[in-house]
Symmetry: C2
Amino acid sequence: MSAAVDALPEDRVIITDGNVWSAWGSAFSGERVLVLPPGEQSKSMRTYDEALRWVASSGASRRSAIVAFGGGVIGDLAGFVAASYLRGVPLVQLPTTLLAQVDSSVGGKVGIDLPEGKNLVGAFWPPTAVSICLETLRTLDHRQLNNGLAEVWKYGFIMDPGLLELLPPETERLESIVKRCIELKARIVQEDEFETLGLRAILNFGHTLGHAIEQITGYGPILHGEAIAIGMAFEARLGERLGITRTGVAESVRQGLVSQGLPTDSDCLERADDLVAVMRRDKKASASGLAFSLLPEIGECKLIRDVPENEVRACLKER
Amino acid sequence: MSAAVDALPEDRVIITDGNVWSAWGSAFSGERVLVLPPGEQSKSMRTYDEALRWVASSGASRRSAIVAFGGGVIGDLAGFVAASYLRGVPLVQLPTTLLAQVDSSVGGKVGIDLPEGKNLVGAFWPPTAVSICLETLRTLDHRQLNNGLAEVWKYGFIMDPGLLELLPPETERLESIVKRCIELKARIVQEDEFETLGLRAILNFGHTLGHAIEQITGYGPILHGEAIAIGMAFEARLGERLGITRTGVAESVRQGLVSQGLPTDSDCLERADDLVAVMRRDKKASASGLAFSLLPEIGECKLIRDVPENEVRACLKER
């Protein structure tokens, strides 16, 4: 961790959460640091307001970097603070969870939630640097690691079947796997930074339903990686139903996730009305239907924008 | 007004204020419209939150345009909503005050205030269209028109001495003057969109002190144009004191503003400590001093970043 700290810009303020700071705060000294409560509830307008007022009071200027030191919630929140404080200041991501390291810290999507939905407010604000310190993974428990590994499986399903052969991973392989995932994501983001080409949308495999699950269960009881694992299992079945996904792919997806100890089903899927209402508000949905990133084959993915709601409802019933 | 309404994108939501809507709302029908209270207090985090939640509930998608229908406050607030809702949706500016038409609707600066200072949060988010309807100026009183004319004088002082010969303007000249100001601003913004080159900063002549005046007097009793008129008169004197501005320029600036009926002094300048404390937090200030855009000559302006606080205090005393 000390190497990562030494590499930070000198003029900086740190935004972190209580769990991360109690584990790693001793690596820092004399910092301007805002320690927020852990959990998705910190991705709220209220915390955004609090963080901005703290940054303003700390005397940060346009040249000060905001360091997001934590998991995806801290990265998204502190990232949006960096995107909007003084109309934008440098952002350094120092992600401390596998989920943030392989996914959210790369690519520049930052933002907060509204009561009306997750990530409804934010910006594209690429970090000036992402500093990965694998040491921080040591403080994560099994469930937290699996939370990140769900996204690793996703990279395999959507674009890198070779990666699937390394999964579930042995601990000593984690470093090279993290590296491979960041390269995959960076490649997509470079080609479609603002999600205007449909390419970047493939990263959302499992996420249309996954986000809806998180939303209707109130963010927390089901972790993001768990929600998207359930989402991937479902969206693979949905693809087969629509004739887009080759028959058999859904079972391979399910078996892979089960081998990792990730969930592929949940009682909350019975709440079809609630789920569809949320999916209708998804940023990629259109007037003609819901939007899903579906797998024609393992290793391929494409965005379908006009999936009829009745097909989605039928597929939810057919569990 | 009906031509301007016809030119709007079909998929739209409108954000406006009560004054504008009661004057011009009849030109619209069947709109999704959010009517906010008039005044700077609507550029708050609270109103931003309210507006975002309203936009989300209205079912606006990534393709929906947000129409900012009002003066600078509405343009800045609705602009920041457009910049951040779903990480950015199209923005159409339909400015209804002279101030917004010649200045804030062009150039893409959007944002809100914090209790710690004006415009501390925001984005660069260029409108996809700016629709100027001079008809709306008819509902403005003398003081509101002068509020915008202060920015017109500014364009003359910083880059267009020929414009000064048309000031104070006759009503029938207003259309060509608005056009000329927009061209001047667009030229600068195109060259330095993100204010990284120092060029765009010349638009801030009169604004370092002007913003501080608005801040310490609580936004409202002194209008923006009045505050920057006082700021321009002061910053011209400050430039002479520092040997940057040719002797005599300050008196020309003052006389011009007086001929327009704009203020060039205020009792609040006695509160030097309060003013300096705010100016220290200005986005362009540096460790070595305060930042002012100063006039070497009428028609020329440059950003000076390291103005010593004691010079500023002395110049405030010397009124």
